[in-house]
């Protein structure tokens, strides 16, 4: 499932993005089959064990994949609206940065970066202003939630100044 960038000039019939979805669903089904084949040996006397339901779900996914192929070939999928790429990259980048910075730099710095990146995704690109603003806001939230509500938010160099 990668088709965030399908431009709208790709016309119907056959719908390649929809075919990619069908492949994804079939792949998911394959993954479940592979995983549940490991469990299949252990069966209870009722004939229904931990692998039965996954098997049924995988079969359902295969059917849905086939159905998706059918609709893709008929061009039954709805029109997609044009998607701008840059904002999406900003926001995903911000979330990834937060994920990587969280352990070493603490909640406030990591989340401040996310805040600035998200604002940039929506058109505020003045990072020299939004990053400090985001860090200050996150620090305030950290003090409130970690201090008062005892939520375990990771602390970094900035938080250690206060706690």
């Amino acid at each position: 499932m990668t088709k965030g960038n399908t431009p709208s000039n790709e016309r119907r019939r056959p719908d390649r993005a929809a075919l990619a979805i069908a492949v994804f669903l079939a792949g998911l089904a394959g993954l479940i089959f592979w995983d549940s084949s490991r469990l299949a040996r252990i069966n209870s006397y009722s004939g229904i064990g931990p692998s039965t339901i996954p098997f049924v779900i995988a079969c359902g996914l295969l059917l849905l994949a086939a159905w998706t192929v059918f609709e893709a070939l008929r061009g039954d999928f709805p029109e997609r609206e044009r998607q701008e790429i840059a904002p999406v990259v900003w926001i995903i980048g911000g979330l990834a940065a937060q994920m990587l910075l969280l352990k070493s730099f603490g909640f406030s710095i990591a989340t401040g970066v996310l805040f600035a990146a998200a604002a940039a995704g929506f058109g505020r690109r003045k990072l020299w202003f939004t990053i400090p603003a985001g860090i200050l806001l996150s620090l305030g939230i950290w003090l409130l939630f970690a201090g008062l509500l005892q939520l375990s938010l990771p602390a970094g160099p900035l938080e250690h100044l206060f706690w």
Binding site: I32, Y45, I53, P54, M99, S152
Partner: protein, 505 residues
């Protein structure tokens, strides 16, 4: 004890200062998220789940229910003044309400929406209190196979009966199922779909999934639309008070909306949207002023707004009595119960009556608070609409990750949040509904458990599922709910169903 006594006891619980405080926070937050486009009650409850982990269960649940009710009130304000529904149950309100606002009658439109919501909420909450004990009695005769059949029915109605494509609804549901089997099997202790990764053994957190799909997926989607120019906000001109004629035209619509909305919400048949569409259609047919429909007819606001609040109360009937969520918000509230080790269902009424009845009674109080919050203070809520998008969505993302970090500060959990966010974004692009994924994830394991219990009792005989009359009837309804829309769509009558799309809340 009679229902009435239970309810009185509940009011005593709900009137404790701490619980009143939780209800006030709930309705205030609920109204705010209802007003803001892009975040709904489902997301808000999901965000608050980790934060409220250490709080008192009764109080938190009262707060969540307040958010649900508040979201239904707040959504109407955005619909009327902005012509962009704040949440999906208010789409119909925008049809007539925004026309009224443009004609300078925004005040009466807001008033009829708020008072209608109040009347409907009051009647429907009382109906909930009186219907629930009967459903509980009925549920006591339910065995595993009846529960399984009921869940199958809920799966079908949530995913495929409404909306514009059976295929996409079912695909969403099965993605939810796939995520649901990740983790340790509850009956045998086998690890499934976890590939030796310890973080996956606990399964996928409902809150992580819901926050990712609703907050991150939505933010990505809105951002990817680019700048489409500012929306026009209608100001409230003239008096907010309704004239005698407005009252005369509204009150019947309120009652009809309530009568339509409550049963629709109470049946395992999808979200509040459906009731609002039916109510609108009914008002259009019954009105004495057909020429006003499409140009700002007050009945067209009063009926659907009453219907969506009534169905919010109706949704709580299957949730509390059977443990069966029929909307995304209800699914996340179920996760909220589970977080405190409580399983909604007939037993909860016996083991924890104070909590259940306190919750129901607090809804009556919440409803009163909402009327006060929404009528005189409407100007304050309108100001929320002027927050610039970058700050609004940056803030939403901040709180979305805050909830996840608070619950489990690991890189892996944030990675899942990001992955599901991107998945939600891609699903939105292609028109896949989000609610079935959430419902599939939370209800899937419960359905599997019931099915395996039923089959263990019958020693593997599958026909046992159809030999109980109740189960057979429920499965037959589920089959009809799957097949009839398919035929309707194949014959080109699908528009009605896609309008009834039960999507977010």
């Amino acid at each position: 004890m009679s229902t009435f006594e239970f309810l009185l006891q509940g009011i005593v619980v709900a009137a404790q200062p701490m619980n009143l405080f939780y209800a006030l926070i709930g309705v205030t937050l609920g109204t705010a998220v209802g007003v803001l486009p892009g975040i709904g009650p489902a997301l808000t409850v999901a965000l608050l789940l980790p934060v409220t982990y250490k709080l008192d269960p009764g109080g938190s649940l009262i707060m969540f229910a307040g958010i649900y009710y508040g979201g239904m009130y707040g959504g109407s304000t955005t619909s009327i003044l902005l012509n962009a529904p704040g949440e999906s149950a208010s789409i119909v309100t925008a049809l007539e309400g925004n026309k009224m606002a443009r004609a300078g009658r925004g005040g009466p439109a807001l008033a009829t929406a708020a008072i209608g919501s109040f009347v409907a909420g009051l009647i429907a909450t009382l109906a909930l209190a009186f219907v629930a004990p009967f459903v509980v009695k009925l549920a006591l005769v339910f065995g595993p196979r009846e529960y399984f059949a009921l869940m199958v029915l809920a799966f079908v109605t949530v995913s495929s009966a409404f909306g514009d494509s059976t295929l996409r609804g079912l695909t969403s549901l099965f993605i939810g199922f796939t995520l649901a089997i990740i983790g340790i099997d509850q009956l045998t202790g086998q690890a499934r779909m976890s590939f030796g990764i310890p973080d996956l053994l606990d399964g996928i957190e409902v809150t992580t999934l819901a926050v990712a799909m609703f907050a991150i997926g939505e933010a990505l989607y809105i951002a990817a639309q680019g700048d489409r120019g500012p929306d026009k906000i209608e100001t409230v001109k003239g008096s907010v008070w309704m004239t005698g004629q407005d009252w005369a035209r509204s009150w019947k619509a309120w009652l009809r909306g309530t009568a339509i909305g409550f049963p629709i919400g109470a049946m395992p048949a999808g979200g509040a949207e459906i009731g609002t569409f039916l109510s609108y259609a009914a008002e259009k047919r019954l009105t004495k002023h057909p020429e006003e429909f499409g140009n700002g007819a007050i009945e067209g606001v009063a009926g659907p707004e009453a219907a969506n609040n009534a169905s919010a109360a109706g949704t709580l009937v299957p949730l509390l009595t059977l443990g069966l969520p029929t909307t995304a918000t209800a699914a996340i509230m179920l996760a909220g119960f589970q977080q405190y080790g409580l399983q909604p269902g007939p037993l909860l009424f016996a083991t924890n009556p104070q909590l259940v009845w306190g919750l129901i009674a607090s809804l009556l109080i919440a409803n009163l608070m909402l009327l006060v919050l929404n009528l005189p203070l409407v100007g304050l809520w309108v100001k929320l609409l002027t927050i610039p998008k970058p700050w609004l969505y940056a803030g939403i993302l901040l709180f979305a990750t805050l909830g996840t970090i608070g619950a489990n500060p690991s890189v892996f959990e944030l990675g899942m949040l990001l992955t599901f966010g991107v998945l939600g974004y891609v699903m939105r692009i292609f028109g896949y509904p989000i609610a079935p994924v959430v419902v599939g994830l939370i209800l899937g394991p419960l359905a599997e458990q019931q099915l395996r219990r039923a089959l263990a009792i019958s020693q593997g005989d599958v026909t046992v599922l159809f030999t109980s009359p109740i189960a057979a009837v429920l499965l037959a309804i589920a089959a009809a709910a799957l097949i009839v829309p398919l035929i309707l769509r194949a014959r080109g009558r699908g528009e009605v169903l896609s309008q009834l799309a039960a999507n977010e809340d």
